[in-house]
């Protein structure tokens, strides 16, 4: 289904999504981030990319697995807290973030299906917005097999045509969301079709950060496992993990028990990341990835080698966040280039 939505009708569409939670990018505190949209509220799709990625809608930073209560010597009473969220529609998802979701889906399925992730994921509709121009000098979606109008992972793809959006349903979920506001949309004509293609084609021509030979990278990483390059590239890394927290495909987490009172508490999952020193540290103090070089290697290898080995695709969609937001300029593209050379 491909339709045209004039810009002033966007509000009408959102208004029709009652019963859903709607989120869209908003500019606050000097950054774009997803924020809830009040029913009938305005949404501003002039955003670059949000600083936090869309993954948080299925994989929130904190999630309670279950509550427990156990008196001294007594039996534990466990109450699982698998969420039952309302359907959620997220607007303005950039294609790179969209491509992140299927990668996360793989992780949270595999041998074991993660009930918490899927409870949210199944209720999630992602309305994407094609990038007519790169929103940051660090975009490289095309270098990792994506494109500024990639449909992968999205339920709907919108393309800004100046005064109107071209809106394409990609999944039944997406079609359903569009059908809610059937009247608001017009049929897309041949001219619209041509215009979309032109805009898309143009967007593909915009300069992006290049990655030489994507196919050669896994082998290059493998060859360089013991190379000093990693430590060198990580020399100024501060180990903050911003790169991974913001990444649309980083999914590592920690599980902890938090007390909520005497003899009771919650088992909680929180985001964790491979850049933190204790991430892999055993209780004995032994740490298989004991320095920042090893941790940078893990981050890059996970995305460009291990994930490829396990899932036949990169675990990076080229959003460029980890480059732009790194406080000290560590640049995954530059790292790949460097590793490719040595």
């Amino acid at each position: 289904m491909e339709k045209i939505l004039s810009k002033e009708k966007l509000r009408e569409w959102v208004g029709k999504l009652d019963g859903c939670e709607v989120h869209a990018p908003a500019f606050a505190d000097s950054v774009w981030n997803y924020a809830p949209v009040q029913t009938g509220g305005d949404i501003d799709l002039s955003h670059t990319n949000t600083v936090g990625s869309v993954k948080a809608f299925a994989f929130p930073q904190r999630e309670v697995f279950f509550r427990f209560e156990q008196a001294k010597g007594g039996a534990p009473v466990l109450t699982a807290t698998v969420p039952e969220p309302r359907p959620t529609v997220v607007f303005g998802v950039r294609p790179c973030d969209g491509r992140g979701m299927p990668r996360n889906d793989k992780v949270f399925s595999a041998e074991f299906k993660d009930p918490y992730y899927w409870a949210r994921r199944e209720k999630l509709t992602l309305v994407g917005l094609a990038c007519n121009e790169p929103h940051s000098p660090n975009c490289f979606c095309q270098s990792v097999g994506g494109s500024p109008h990639s449909e992968e992972g999205l339920d709907v793809l919108m393309t800004d045509l100046g005064d109107r959006y071209h809106v394409k349903a990609i999944t039944p979920k997406g079609a359903e969301a569009m059908e809610r506001a059937g009247d608001a949309f017009n049929e897309a004509g041949a001219a619209d079709q041509a215009e979309v293609e032109r805009v898309h084609a143009e967007s593909r021509q915009q300069p992006q950060r290049p990655i030489g030979d994507l196919a050669a990278i896994p082998e290059a990483i493998k060859q360089n496992f013991d190379s000093p390059v990693w430590a060198e590239m990580a020399q100024h890394c501060i180990g903050c993990g911003i790169c991974t927290f913001l990444c649309p495909t980083c999914h590592c987490f920690d599980i902890n028990d938090e007390a909520t009172g005497a003899n009771k508490g919650e088992r909680v999952r929180t985001w964790d990341n491979c850049q933190f020193p204790d991430f892999t540290m055993h209780t004995s103090g032994h740490n298989p990835r004991h320095d920042l070089g090893a941790r940078l290697r893990q981050r890059v290898s996970h995305k460009f080698l291990y994930f490829v080995e396990n899932h036949k695709t990169q675990q990076c969609t080229g959003c460029g966040r980890c480059i732009s937001e790194c406080p000290v300029g560590i640049d995954i593209v530059a790292v790949l280039e460097r590793v490719g050379q040595s």
Binding site: K72, A259, G261, N263
Partner: protein, 651 residues
């Protein structure tokens, strides 16, 4: 085992607690606590049967920790800790939950009071869950004492300690002991001769088998701590062997160098080789190497030539001696606030303006004028003498803020001594007010005014200067009459404030003991520990701690001696083990704790803080200061406080 087996004992205290706190419920609810394996209540926990039941319960239930919910720990903490010890577990694993003074007695609502008692008890249980079984710290002691400063304070302290049978090392920086008291003529309030009462004591010191006298010596470094100090003393050479010296004075006769005599405060002169004072102890001459023409027969060598006893040895070298002692008494005394600081009174440059000590020397039979009061400029008998009190003291704006305490008395004494020497002379005293608290002191001042007809003028002297006719013109106001006063005096005596001596300042530095804002040595507590310094094992005596007269000095010296004797009466010192402990892995050596510790108990060793357990009083200021939580007081750790907060907040 890490998890404790705690017993809880709830006391009814008759009806004192039970009336407001539901003690049964309290005892019962405590069994919900993870670590509690036993809980009971009893009508009087501190009674014999009560105590025995605690002991029995500890044994029967293999308890390793105890919480007693009862009255204030100030009352029975010791009782129950002793019980714990008797039952074979460490007393330090017993904690008191105060549910009487801090709960039952101050609340009426039974429900609320019970709730609070539960929280208090629960927090004690959580705390005790992490208490360590500690042993008191035992420190072997060296039963020797060092006294620094050989004034009357040091002499008295040394004799007291030595008479009790302990070995004493008395270190004096000058060539003789005696201090300032040796310079005094007669002493208030009885006007007995200062040297007459002091000399026997000095002799006693020199003969005492337990006293090792080190004159012309200075303490250079101290390490160790209470019970075991190691002191480095530098003994300067006198170039005269006291054993050989016959006190014949031949050397003095030939010495060509003449310098002012400090013992007489410059009122007389002496030679480079000299005896500070006829009755000096040790009885021997000293060669003042700074004044001497050169320790070389080619330069001079006259004294060495003339000494038949062969007592003079130019090759004598400074000696460094290390002494091990268990305690130190600091009695380094005072100096007078320098005249040079007093611009308004001519900064010491006006002739015939003397300070109190100089006047003492004028009056002294052994002094410059052989006991005749003659003014220095022309050796005439002064007929009009003005005494000015509070010079340099009680003047926060320009000089010292404090009251020098003894000046009223010694000025009265000076006026009387003057009148006794020059009965027809006229004595004026300028004063702000008279402070003469002390046995017989007020009477002494009264007598000065009445019997000896001294004219007391209330007011300040604003200025003085020398007149053409060789008088000292004193300009002041009499605040009682409101009139300006102008006196042309033959001599003026300034009652200068006492201030800590240079040696006191230096000793404080070496010993690392604090000084108060005026520079006097700081006592550990202004009321309750007036003779202790802040550093355990170091005590204070005499004018080094604050202005005082001889009786007070002697009392404090004896008090310090008594403290030392009490300390060293044990073979080992026992110190509370609840001291700070550093987590080396977390300490970065930033020294913030070192700066904050009130007891200088922490120092840095290889970049890590190290606590001297003997000095540490366990206040925890360090723990409150360290941002890295790298230091904690044993059994009051941050982990424990955190657990207590949780307990109180229901976590």
């Amino acid at each position: 085992m890490t998890k404790k087996r705690t017993g809880v004992f709830v006391c009814h205290c008759g009806n004192n607690i039970a009336a407001t706190v539901d003690v049964k419920r309290l005892a019962e609810e405590m069994t919900d606590e993870e670590t509690v394996v036993y809980s009971q209540d009893y009508v009087y926990m501190c009674s014999d049967p009560g105590q025995n039941s605690v002991i029995q319960a500890i044994k029967d239930n293999q308890l390793d920790s105890v919480v007693v919910s009862c009255c204030s720990p100030n009352l029975h903490e010791k009782t129950f800790r002793d019980n714990a010890e008797r039952a074979g577990i460490s007393g330090f694993t017993c904690e008191i939950a105060n549910i009487r003074e801090q709960c039952a007695w101050v609340h009426k609502n039974r429900e609320e009071a019970t709730e609070k008692a539960i929280k208090i008890s629960r927090s004690a249980i959580r705390r005790v869950a992490h208490n360590k079984a500690l042993d008191p710290i035992a420190v072997p002691v060296t039963r020797r004492v060092m006294v620094i400063g050989g004034g009357i304070a040091g002499i008295q302290a040394a004799l007291d300690v030595a008479n009790a049978g302990l070995e004493v090392i008395l270190v004096e920086k000058l060539a003789t002991i005696g201090g300032h008291m040796l310079q005094l003529s007669e002493t208030f309030p009885t006007l007995d001769c200062s040297q007459c009462i002091l000399s026997p004591k000095m002799v006693e010191v020199s003969r005492h088998p337990n006293i090792k006298l080190m004159t012309y010596s200075e303490v250079q470094d101290v390490s160790g701590s209470v019970g075991n100090f190691r002191v480095k003393v530098l003994q300067k050479p006198t170039y005269v062997d006291p054993e050989a010296c016959k006190l014949c004075d031949d050397c003095v006769q030939v010495c060509p160098v003449v310098v002012p005599n400090e013992h007489d405060l410059g009122l007389t002169a002496r030679r480079a080789i000299h005896i500070p004072f006829a009755q000096a102890i040790p009885a021997s001459y000293t060669l003042d190497v700074d004044a001497c023409l050169g320790l070389n027969p080619i330069r001079c060598g006259k004294c060495k030539d003339v000494c038949e006893a062969g007592a003079i040895n130019y090759d004598m070298q400074p000696r460094t001696v290390f002494e091990e002692v268990g305690a130190i008494i600091v009695a380094t005394g005072f100096d007078l606030y320098g005249q040079e600081n007093l611009g308004e009174y001519g900064a010491g440059k006006v002739e015939d303006v003397l300070d109190g000590l100089q006047f003492e020397r004028l009056c002294s039979a052994s002094g410059a004028t052989k006991g005749h009061v003659l003014r220095p400029s022309d050796h005439k008998v002064p007929k009009e003498v003005v005494f000015i009190q509070c010079v340099g003291s009680r003047d926060p704006a320009q000089h010292c803020a404090y009251c020098s305490k003894i000046c009223c008395m010694y000025t009265a004494k000076h006026a009387r001594l003057y009148k006794h020497h020059v009965p027809d002379g006229r004595a004026y005293v300028f004063y702000i007010d008279i402070r003469s608290g002390g046995k017989g002191y007020e009477e002494f001042v009264q007598r000065t005014m009445e019997d000896d007809e001294t004219i007391y003028l209330r007011g300040r002297v604003s200025k003085l200067h020398r007149t053409r006719d060789g008088k000292v013109r004193v300009l002041g106001t009499d605040t009682l009459t409101g009139q300006n006063v102008e006196i042309d005096a033959d001599m003026v005596v300034l009652a200068l404030a006492m201030q800590p001596s240079k040696g006191t300042e230096q000793a404080a530095k070496v010993l690392k003991i604090g000084r108060d804002k005026d520079g006097f040595l700081a006592e550990a507590h202004p009321k309750l520990k007036p003779v202790e310094s802040v550093t355990a094992g170091i005590y204070l005596a005499g004018a080094a701690q604050g202005p005082k007269d001889i009786p007070e000095t002697v009392s404090q010296a004896s008090a310090a001696a008594c403290k030392v004797l009490a300390l060293l009466s044990q073979d080992t010192l026992s110190h509370a083990p609840t001291v700070a402990k550093v987590r080396e892995s977390h300490c970065t050596g930033c020294e913030m704790c070192v700066d904050a510790c009130p007891y200088q108990a922490i120092r840095l060793l290889n970049g890590k803080a190290v606590v001297n357990e003997v000095l540490c009083e366990g206040c925890g200021t360090c723990a409150g200061t360290c941002v890295r939580a790298a230091i904690d007081v044993k059994n009051v750790t941050q982990l424990q406080i955190h657990a207590m907060i949780s307990a109180i907040m229901g976590g």
